[in-house]
Symmetry: C2
Subunit: 408 residues, 2 copies
């Protein structure tokens, strides 16, 4: 008799028949006596259809109106789902973001959840109803509809689980869980049974798309046990939970990569105080997020500055940097967008030395040149040439013995 929050993504509810199948799956839990809260995304393809409509209206669609538009996607799914449950002879009720007061900031298309009023949900659960909540959406203090951005439904689910003090939050998706690396690249990739919140945060920020990073952060803060699993098979997926001893005994939990990277280098920058801010403020003013930054001091009063930006912002960033370089008297700007960031993640790194050097050694043995390095307590990232992506991932996966079962 648990209180379970389950979230089903767009591909899981992509057609009337799939919605019925999900309803049947949820009813399996109801029949066992669990109280169920279901968070749904828009049917797959619907959000893209709506965005295309918006783009046909306005070159840069107004963000407030965009949220009014996009939030209809989930509204359709939750009502259809409630009907499917009722057709099966059980009771259900759907709620929109504003009906259960999922209060957010007013930052349209990228709002953040501030609070949730659980009264209506709790009342409906007490009446034996399956509660169906629209993912991805909320309402600001002035009653405007907001959306949480891509992946927002994961966040809705975890926030609801936290607010309701649910026993667990299950994220149903189209993959079977979190893998040690991308199975499309590395055939020996293995599904991870348990992973810590911190490792999952690193994996999500480093390119793993299975979970929205905000939802992992929320789950960590409120200690919500998170279960990532497939809608289409019945096996257990990956549990994202608090760190335990077994996790610490693993050196590395996963290898990940991110191709949405581009590198920009400014050479022979006069090394004066305030130079870095002169370079980076115009970039952040343009809404571009800089990832890694490396500064190499040359002889004399010159320095080289290299940093990475999302490849999607590459052209815009380069333009800005060239302008700044001329202003501050830097000698040259070079750049490349054929790079990739390959990372290894594991809480075991905290207690084991030499993990980073093993990584560097593995890459050099394959003849791969490391262009940039960045580390944190539980990860090491290297920027390399994009063409080496698969080679590097497979070599690292092999070197850290990730194909082996955790039990061994």
């Amino acid at each position: 008799m648990s209180l379970i929050v389950q979230k089903y993504g767009g591909t899981s509810v992509g057609s009337p028949d799939k919605i019925k199948a999900v309803a049947e799956r949820v009813l399996g839990y109801t029949r066992k006596g669990h109280s169920m809260v279901v968070v749904l995304s828009a049917m797959s393809g619907e959000t893209d259809r709506l965005i295309a409509l918006a783009n046909s209206m306005q070159e840069q669609p107004d963000t407030r109106e965009m949220d009014v538009l996009l939030s209809t996607g989930e509204q359709v799914t939750i009502s259809l789902f409630a009907m499917a449950v009722k057709a099966a002879g059980y009771d259900a009720i759907s709620f929109l973001g504003d009906q259960v007061k999922i209060m957010t900031s007013s930052r349209y298309t990228k709002a953040r959840i501030k609070s949730i009023d659980t009264e209506k949900i709790q009342n409906s659960l007490d009446q034996g109803k399956i509660v169906v909540v629209a993912g991805f959406q909320g309402v600001d203090e002035n009653g405007n509809i907001t959306t949480l951005g891509r992946g927002g439904s994961d966040t809705t689910a975890v926030a609801l689980a936290a607010a309701l003090n649910a026993d667990q939050c299950e994220i149903f998706t189209d993959v079977e869980g979190v893998f040690t690396t991308d199975p499309n690249i590395c055939s020996s990739a293995r599904k991870i049974e348990r992973i810590s919140y911190d490792e999952m945060l690193e994996l999500a920020s480093l390119g793993a798309k299975v979970l929205d990073i905000r939802s992992v952060g929320l789950a960590k803060r409120y200690k919500v046990p998170l279960h990532v699993r497939s809608t289409f098979v019945d096996t257990e997926g990956t549990w994202v939970v608090e760190e335990d001893e077994k996790m610490e005994s693993m050196l590395v939990s996963g290898v990940t990569y991110n191709k949405n990277e581009a590198r920009i280098t400014i050479s022979k920058v006069p090394d004066k105080p305030g130079i870095a801010s002169k370079i980076f403020i115009p970039i952040s003013d343009a809404g571009i997020v800089v990832d890694m930054i490396i500064q190499n001091t040359r002889a004399g009063e010159m320095t080289d500055l290299t940093f990475t930006v999302p490849r999607t912002d590459y052209v815009k960033a380069l333009e800005i940097v060239k302008k700044t370089a001329a202003e501050i008297g830097a000698e040259d700007v070079s750049s490349a967008d054929n790079i990739v960031k390959v990372s290894i993640v594991g809480v075991g790194m905290r207690n084991h030395s030499g993990i980073a050097s093993t990584m560097f050694h593995v890459l050099s043995k394959e003849g791969i040149n490391i262009m940039m390095i960045s580390t944190s307590e539980i990860k090491v990232s290297c920027v390399i040439e994009e063409k080496y992506t698969e080679l590097a991932v497979r070599a690292l996966h092999d070197a850290f013995a990730l194909e082996m079962d955790e039990q061994q």
Copy 2:
């Protein structure tokens, strides 16, 4: 400098290009200095698409969830429209039913408006914004989404015009206005320039589909001047307004017909008190609305009872009546669904005698047998065989000289 409420129906906003065209039309009024409130329906076809989705989920879709589903249609249109206005360089803001507190009863799919909070709308108008409101939808006192039923967007528009004390309410549709009769049947049908609320109410209740009858009732109660016109041409349509002298000088304003009629007769009913309720209570319990009722007393203690029901409810009603007839000892039940109700409407009837007899004379001259008659202060309806519909409509239109201009 007026405050104008305009409503555009589904065919008027049926595609992105049409939405842009409507935005351009509204901006024409804005540029002249008018304050504009725009009420929109769902894009044509969208409501049917959503109903089909619901029907694929549940045989009789849950009405609460149906309203959650259907209300997305208008939500899409209003956001796209606001984007179109912004793309043209003007300011606009969209509001859902619950955002401007269009409070309704809780009768899902057929809710009635109780009140509207105009504060948000007024504030936005004061800021020079075009206000775009979702038609057809509201919210009940518990925060549940409701819809007003087919034609509900007309009612939203008139209710908003009344609440805002607007100077006029314009209903844009795919016909040019209210006609003296159906132009598809009678080539001399003429667009009416001005018609009274009462006449429009009769026309709407007698089968004219151009305006939702509830919206006309609201317009009458709050004295909202209503202008029915075409989205696709620029000419004036029909004004529905308070009665004036000129209208009274017209004998008949329009001829209308309704084919959604079926007749049921119970013969030789024992004429005792309480018999009528024994017959009609089971019918109304089944949700069937009886229209005309005629009782012919026979010699002795027997009576014949004839009444009409919507043809769509004919089979169900007949079944119920046959059961009742057996119970009360009536001799026979006969019925027909090949009938039509032809009506003439005009406030002039109040002051002119002989209109009804002229109608009967015209029909008999054409060899048309009248099966039932019903009258009110400003209309006369005759039930005749369906095959005579066109003949009767043309003969009546001709006899009352409706093809002539009102000015003459």
